[in-house]
Symmetry: C2
Subunit: 195 residues, 2 copies
């Protein structure tokens, strides 16, 4: 299954977790809904978003562009929510640079057959696009060491449980902890505890 | 509840997770079983274990000593198991120094009343021992920033879910990943993928 299947299994189960809907210049595929799967925009609109700094990251992939709207992400984070994005290594690198606290999770394909099946499977792309996607997939695999976590995507339930665990665990990170709040629980202060 | 309650809720649910039974020179409390709760040894036996390098870490706490048998841990890790230890900050510092891959999780007491209740609660210790334990608890709180994760221990189910998530997430860490195995899944090699 693809990344969306795993995301859809996790999203309803983790409180305060929001999926970041990307902007794209590619055409909707059958069944895709504007605002749920993507915000579909023209090349001119995308250019304008880049120009006005409204994209937190963007990437080009086989002639189409994909990006993350900055205002939505910032609003979510300000509210203390966790935002999950489905982006490629180009976007991930930009996010890592701009948001040091971001966590990168790599979904590893279960087999080359499956990877190839996914790349060919949509049956609506030219041979040239498929070749470029295969070469791109290879570069993505080689970049796995830049990520924080890797999940082998061979069993939906296991993969979803692992992604859920990563989100819950990262929320317990000491470096993300609000020590004022923790100390207050004990009727003392972070200062008094030298935290 | 204490740390044991949380551990006991997690141990049966995570595969390949082993609890490291400590060695101690203190006397068994009612209900405690040698080999399950602790290995109860004499001061002479403990000295001998230190002298022969058979303790991975040890600490003294209110006149009693506690330690982790090295051979058991090494055997477990060689078999690819995860080992969980219930140790204090003195022991945690030794583990961190000797095993860089160790993960430290702090169980934060839900309130000062609860912390104090736990310290007084056993009803079998002198005032002096209680005072020393209170001051020690304070030093432990101040050391929370040396840990990787913090779990607020105010709800057993939530605390256990978080500890479970931390273990599962840490197993997905890229830096713990066997890339030869991952690459083999794709019918390629780690070398070929430059991993």
């Amino acid at each position: 299954m693809g990344k969306n299947t795993v995301l859809n299994a996790v999203l309803p189960e983790v409180p305060d977790l929001h999926y970041s809907v990307s902007v794209t210049t590619r055409a909707p595929r059958p069944g895709e809904v504007h605002g749920r799967d993507y915000f579909f925009v023209t090349d001119e609109e995308f250019d304008e978003m880049i120009r006005t700094g409204r994209l937190l990251e963007w990437a080009e992939f086989v002639g189409r562009r994909y990006g993350t709207p900055r205002d939505y992400i910032e609003r979510c984070l300000d509210e203390g929510l966790t935002v999950i994005m489905d982006i490629d290594i180009q976007g991930a690198r930009q996010i890592r640079e701009r948001m040091k606290e971001a966590i990168l999770v790599f979904l590893w394909p279960p087999s080359m057959q499956e990877l190839s099946r996914r790349i060919h499977g949509r049956g609506q792309d030219s041979q040239d696009a498929i070749t470029r996607r295969l070469s791109w997939a290879r570069q993505e695999l080689e970049a796995v060491t830049e990520y924080d976590y890797v999940i082998v995507n061979d069993d939906l339930e296991k993969a979803a449980a692992e992604l859920r665990a990563i989100i819950i665990a990262e929320r317990c990170r000491v470096r993300r902890t609000d020590f004022r709040q923790l100390a207050a629980k004990l009727g003392t202060s972070a200062d008094e505890l030298r935290l």
